[in-house]
């Protein structure tokens, strides 16, 4: 179980309190969902980049040349 540290600064009293607790199920779910979202985004970006590179290879162009051509 992942531990979460919560730090609270009370601006009225100037007191700082740290509490260490277990990650809640909701927090775990949120963290994992976000991680999955990031992984999917990065995988999609990698796939796109690979497809782009494959096209460039077929055309025998560098990325800079393609940019110049399309610009």
């Amino acid at each position: 179980m992942m531990k979460i540290i919560e730090r609270t600064f009370n601006a009225e009293t100037g007191e700082t309190i740290d509490i260490e607790r277990d990650e809640t199920a909701a927090e775990k779910k949120y963290r994992e969902a976000k991680a999955k979202e990031v992984a999917a985004e990065l995988a999609q970006a990698e796939t796109k980049a690979a497809e782009r590179q494959a096209i460039l290879n077929r055309l025998g162009l560098t990325a800079d040349e393609a940019k110049l051509l399309l610009g």
Partner: protein
């Protein structure tokens, strides 16, 4: 016939033989009398004012009146059509007068949730995040009053990491009834920073709290996880806001400062 320089009163020439001195003097006297009478009628009498700070103001065509100073330091002259003079003295309407609640800011280190509490009686809260760092790909969010309920909604646009401009990297988000206000997402590197600001209004009442978010995350390299949220939203919690929390979804914050400003 000679005349005086300013009012052209008729006077005898130097070479004139004064045959009728009395008539000449009477003529000059009448001219002076007439001019002085006219000028006096057009002048504003200094007796209109009575005290230090008094102003002479017009109340109608060719009519003046005294406007007494309020005697209150800092007050300014204002238009008020309901008064006799059309003017009044009054205090300058107060604008948002922000003051830093957590003097020097609160360090973003050593915890995944960092809360600034002790907020009371303030309608507006503005939070600035400076050079915040958390673990790579950590989602940075906000909560109020430690409320983990689905009482937050936000919409706006997301700017994603990209090595070059691509319209697809700007998308909308519309998150209704979730448990946080989205702010930014740390890049693939824990060395990069997140920053930006969030404002909340209506904090001292039971109604909806309006939120504006302008997050920012460093590093827009291609295939990076970076996200910034630029948008607005609401918080439906009915309690007045007494604390604000910034959350890292992955690991503790390792650097940065959060400044919390409040205004009546």
């Amino acid at each position: 016939m000679a005349t005086t320089t300013n009012y052209s009163w008729t006077t005898p020439d130097d070479t004139a033989l004064v045959k009728d001195g009395a008539a000449a003097i009477r003529s000059l006297g009448t001219a002076i009398d007439s001019t002085v009478f006219t000028n006096a009628g057009n002048a504003v009498a200094k007796s209109v004012v009575d005290a230090k700070g008094d102003l002479i103001v017009g109340t109608a065509d060719n009519t003046v009146a005294r406007l007494a100073s309020s005697g209150v330091n800092g007050e300014v002259l204002q238009v008020d059509t309901s008064t006799a003079t059309g003017l009044k003295y009054g205090a300058v309407a107060a604008g948002a007068n922000w003051s830093l609640l957590n003097t020097g800011g609160t360090a973003l280190t050593g915890a995944a949730t960092i809360t600034v509490s002790g907020i009371s009686g303030k309608d507006k809260i503005m939070i600035l995040v400076s050079d915040g760092k958390a673990s790579a790909q950590s989602e940075i969010d906000f909560r109020f009053n430690g409320d983990t309920g689905n009482n937050y909604s936000g919409m706006g646009f997301i700017a994603r990491g990209s090595g070059s401009f691509n319209a697809n990297n700007f998308t909308r988000y519309n998150n209704s009834n979730i448990s946080v206000i989205n702010f930014a997402r740390q890049s693939n590197s824990s060395s990069d920073v997140v920053a930006g600001g969030i404002t909340i209004t209506g904090c001292n009442a039971s109604g909806l709290k309006a939120i504006q978010v302008a997050g920012a995350a460093q590093n827009f390299n291609s295939m990076d996880s970076t996200i910034t949220y630029i948008g607005q939203g609401i918080y439906t919690g009915t309690s007045t806001i007494s604390s604000v929390s910034i959350l890292s979804s992955v690991g503790n914050f390792t650097a940065g400062t959060i400044f919390v400003y409040t205004s009546a």
